[in-house]
Point group: C2
Chain length 183, copies 2
């Protein structure tokens, strides 16, 4: 059996604003089956970072996340501006959200948040030598506390359900793989 891409018979835009870019495709799938509507989301690429400080602690944030309705413990992350390179967007988000800069910032991998539903990629960086150099500079809609936490404590939070953003658990995987800690 060969796996083949679907044919797009037609496509219409449903939502197109700053916060949601959603289209519905009419597709011809396997064996001529028609899938309609098939929803596809097209946000800009996202960036996220596992940022270690000189004591090998991880930079984490606490933010209210309205989808799940929880105060979530997460990594610094954000959305690229049009034309922005992932590494530049990552530096910008890190500085805005926490006032921190890193002595080294390296791409650990680019994943899909969910290839069934999304067109975009989420780029994961590993930062070392992370230090706060200025105050937070959040958007008016944002409110976030940050701290540096020992890696073992972050892993404990994953175990206990206190670190539940799946994209950031994937980031931990890429970062630990990048340092040779997963073989």
């Amino acid at each position: 059996m060969a796996i083949t891409p679907w044919k797009v018979l037609s496509s219409r835009r449903l939502i197109d604003d700053r916060w949601m870019s959603l289209r519905a495709d009419r597709c011809e799938g396997p064996r001529g089956v028609v899938l309609d509507p098939y929803y596809v989301q097209q946000p800009p690429d996202w960036v996220q970072v596992v940022a270690f400080d000189p004591d090998d602690r991880v930079l984490i944030l606490r933010q209210y996340r309205h989808g799940a309705g929880v105060i979530s413990t997460e990594l610094p992350c954000g959305t690229l501006e049009p034309g922005e390179r992932p590494i530049d967007g990552m530096r910008r988000e890190l500085l805005e959200e926490t006032g921190c800069v890193a002595s080294s910032l390296v791409l650990a991998g680019s994943l899909s948040p969910n290839p069934a539903r999304y067109t975009n990629r989420v780029h994961t960086f590993v930062a070392t030598g992370t230090l706060q150099v200025q105050a937070q500079h959040l958007d008016p809609t944002e409110e976030a506390e940050f701290t540096f936490m020992p890696l073992a404590e972050v892993l404990g939070l994953v175990d206990s359900g206190g670190f539940l953003q799946a994209l950031h658990v994937a980031a931990l995987f890429l970062a630990l793989r990048h340092r040779g800690a997963i073989t």
Copy 2:
């Protein structure tokens, strides 16, 4: 600074069908800022599994994923039916997608696919003793090949960008943490 949940001033349903449940909230956020529309997706919970066979190889599938437009190498996964327990949905999806059963199926963690945007959870299971006992039984819209792959090869695929579903990279993290391979 205390992080506080937003107030929902009003809420309207935008899409409500089998494939998408989307609402738009008008929220009052930090310092009285109004966020409108704030999009929230409410799919059923999802399940996914890192399923090892008796030779410690991982069950993986290749499927066309129309969001990203790629043939994606992934883990078995799916959506819970109404009222279905995660472990029962996981057993059902595993059997439908691959014809496999596992001698042990254990929950390794429940994450959010993205707490900013989604209300649901994705439950990750670890299976051992996985064996094919019957033929695949796919939906008419599904087409998937599966195989058992040594774990080292799966990790190599993550490195090379050939295993890009972030939720499934998070699943690998939880499974390896569960077996004591991440400390």
